[in-house]
Amino acid sequence: MYKKNSWFTIFGVLVLIGLLSSGCSTGTATPTTEQPGTAPTEAAPTEVTAPTTVPEKSQITVVIAEDPPTFNGAINQSGFDTLVMELAMLGLADLDEEGNAYPELAAELPTVENGGVVIDEENGTMDVTWKMRQDIKWEDGTPVTANDLVFTYEAVVDEETGYWIPGIDYVDGVEKIDDYTAVVHYNVIYPGYLTQFGGYLMVIWPAHYCDAEQGFSSWDCGLQPLSNGPYVLKEWVQNDHLTFERNPNYHEAGKPTIDEIVVKIIPDGAVRKQMLINGDADLDMWTSENIVAELKDVPNVEVSLSPVDRWVMRIFFNLAAKGTTDPVATPHPINSDLRVRQAIQMAIDTKTIAETFWFGYAKQVWTEFFRPPYNLCDVPQPIYDPEAAKALLEEAGWIDQDGDGVRECHGCTTGAEDGYKMEMEFITYSEYGETLDLTQEYIAEKLGEIGIKLTISRVEGTVLWESSENGGIEQSGNFDFDIWDDGYSGSDPTDFLWGYYASAAAEPDYGINYGRYLNPEIDDLIDQAYTLDEDLRKDLFCQMATILNRDLPELLLFTTVDANAHSSRLQGVQSNANEIVTWNVSDWTLK
């Protein structure tokens, strides 16, 4: 009967469809990288079939949580893009682990002293002359020249296809002087000029290889890069792994020493940790505190900590009422009273939090200026005193009369009605992990003990930081009380300070002054800080430190660790709070 074998056939056909459609997924590196004529002289000794000692290729495995979206660190800023960008490409200058700039493609760093930086005090503008090294070539043999620098600049500022990078608004133009020299014209005095085309976001892109039509934001050379750095991309299987080989024509002789780097995408943190322990991975990017603490005792794993801390966990007060952005017209019924903020500061036991939940890897900080060279200001350390906090709240008019453990406004000065309960929503972002979650719960509990009731919310980062039109919580002021981490990269905090504390930055989507802190004193100080006069800056920053400590628009709590765990056999890894860990990959060696 014809029906007898029908189901067999149909069953078989269905399975066959499934199998066939997957048949071509064997190792064919799909988005293949067309190596544009790599040095064809690959007379690598590994090809020889001599049975005697063939030098084995040294190889390390780096595990990361997400597939890099592209090699262009500027447009997605996910960190994973910078990781691979640092392997293959170079910028004019980069930042070391102390936050100091050092030259990469530049022959030397331009400064006022060596004449590289010329300031026009009258007009308030400056010109930076970059002299580039003459011995660096792209992997196809073409030399890296000032053409590439100009090309990169023009691609960045292209109206249709460009993108915004820090400082680009201050640049009037980039002018090529000769093949290896170019001048960047600034229309302000911009202290952050050294990493304008470098640092952890930017590199120089090849003019002869990247497609200007496609543009900076989406060119193919971001996925199939032309390398001038220590490593060359050999293979990229999307969402699975990338393979890099050492660049035989790298300009630093003898470097890099490791022949091959495989970057594997392993989304699960526990699996990455286990791979390190088992020896299947050599480097884990952005290891979190709890895993660092666990790995401490594992013999074949070391953890590299950054000497400079960047990310400060801080509490943001919304000085405007929840859902509004005007702190003057609609002040926050609880937060707008300075005494309340001070009381909250006194009720948070930062020391215990740092030691318990952050395994001692968190350091207490209480001012923005805790990093060299600006850590000279005299700001008193906050004390943990819950009793004093309670007293202060009583004094501020927040008294618990109905005995339910939550204070109400009885004579408070924020304009809240009598009987208004001291309840707020406490938000953080969910992507950080357990350590932050526990910290949040603990802080909520402690504040509950002094009479402030907090309901905990965890939202995705994208919901928190989206623009106000899309309902972004921070920009639209739709919060009471948040905790999350941020910090400035490099050694120049000026842009960062402007973003968080300038009055102009309080306008929704215009800056990141989410707390809506309006203080003309600070505005003036920040304006003045756009100078290269270091002594003046130090003085200005200390004035700011005092004012911010007096006003407490944010509560700075502690720094979070910047750690990368690696196998003991891999030496030279140096975590760098201003960069991604592959910044010095050419210095890595295998024991």
Binding site: K3, V237, D240, V262, V271
Partner: protein, 365 residues
């Protein structure tokens, strides 16, 4: 039957339309969006937001974006500035009804639209979404087909024997195991598997872990069947456990239904041997509903299992979707959702057709 198929296919078109509108709304309404910073940057500067809005086409209202998604925007006329709409509560509606919002655009459009096969570019990589999906799709299909084959190999004999030897020790053990298997949360099982086979057990010969913790194959090695198989074992096991219990129980009850039918009794009375009765006559009919269920599960082959892929770092569609959801990569999300929905609708049709072919009692008019 041909009429029936054609009619169903025609009905599928408006169905897909309505679903696509719903999905588009869902994807775009989810709070947050692609204009928030991620990773280390946490937030974007307003300049970056403005640039991205234009590049992603997010400066247009949702209705316009949907139309562009459907039929592309390479027919729009670029103008210097679009007349700003009036403000007010009804502004969005007015904007949606105004044909100028659709025709005029500040930047030239390049999209061709879904109806012409262009699902747009991913916000994350700026490359065509379909290219990325193709690879992930293959990887998911590969894993899932193997899983389903293993499920079938185990479930069918187990289900049949369970039914034939009802209430025997075998049946009781199998039934109990099935219940256990269905009650274990899938991701928990995966964690335990990794714990046992990657952390605890070691290969006695090499000292390495017994099985790899994820990925499809070992990098740098030449293609090796053993290597690929080793990488398959744990993810397949995690997927199989849930399904094999369900399928074997389903087959068991389906088989039981058939066995108790009159004609089976008749066949036995006529003197046919037990085996012949069960395997030649009963099984064939018992498998019918299973084939239907199998065709209905087909979409899972393509959607991939989210938990398996995340836990075992499998570069499939499930993980792709998860990443896109976190990033709010709208084109990617829409493409995956639409494609899977389409596959589901077609699978349903396939299941109905298969069932009709195999069961002579069923007629569609």
């Amino acid at each position: 039957m041909g009429h029936y198929v054609v009619r169903r296919l025609l009905q599928a078109i408006p169905l897909m339309f309505i679903i696509s509108i719903f999905l588009y709304g869902l994807v775009n309404l989810a709070p947050g969006g692609p204009l928030a910073g991620r990773g280390s940057s946490k937030r974007l500067n307003p300049e970056q937001i403005a640039i991205l809005k234009r590049q992603f086409g997010l400066d247009k209202p949702v209705c316009v974006r949907y139309v562009y998604w459907l039929i592309g925007n390479d027919w729009t006329k670029p103008v210097e500035e679009i007349p700003k709409p009036s403000v007010g509560v009804f502004a969005p509606i007015i904007q949606c009804l105004d044909p100028r919002s659709y025709l005029l655009s500040e930047s030239p459009g390049v999209g061709k639209g879904v109806l012409r096969g262009d699902f747009g570019n991913s916000y994350r990589t700026r490359k065509p979404v379909l290219d990325i999906i193709k690879t992930s799709f293959k990887n998911s299909a590969y894993l899932m087909s193997i899983t389903l084959v293993v499920v079938a190999i185990i479930a069918i004999p187990v289900g049949v024997i369970s039914a034939v030897k009802q209430y025997s020790i075998f049946d009781i053990i199998v039934t109990t195991l099935s219940f256990i298997g269905q009650a274990i949360p899938e991701f928990w099982l995966g964690l335990i598997l990794i714990l046992i086979f990657y952390v605890w057990l070691k290969n006695p010969l090499t000292g390495d872990s017994l099985l790899p913790p994820g990925g499809m194959y070992t990098q740098g090695m030449a293609f090796s069947l053993i290597d690929w198989t080793k990488h398959l074992i744990l993810p397949v096991t995690m997927g199989v456990v849930g399904w094999v219990t369900w399928y074997s129980r389903f087959l068991r009850s389906s088989m039981l239904d058939v066995i108790h039918q009159d004609y089976v009794r008749t066949a036995r009375a006529k003197g046919l041997t037990l085996n012949k009765v069960y395997f030649k006559h009963a099984l064939r009919n018992a498998l019918l509903p299973l084939v239907t269920i199998f065709a209905l599960d087909l979409p899972y082959i393509f959607a991939g299992s989210l938990y398996v892929e995340i836990l075992f770092s499998w570069p499939g569609m499930g993980r792709l979707y998860y990443q896109a959801a976190v990033d709010r990569d709208y084109p990617m999300l829409m493409a995956i959702l639409t494609l899977i929905t389409l596959i589901v609708i077609l699978s349903n049709l396939l299941a109905d057709i298969v069932y009709a072919r195999l069961d002579p009692r069923i007629h569609y008019d």
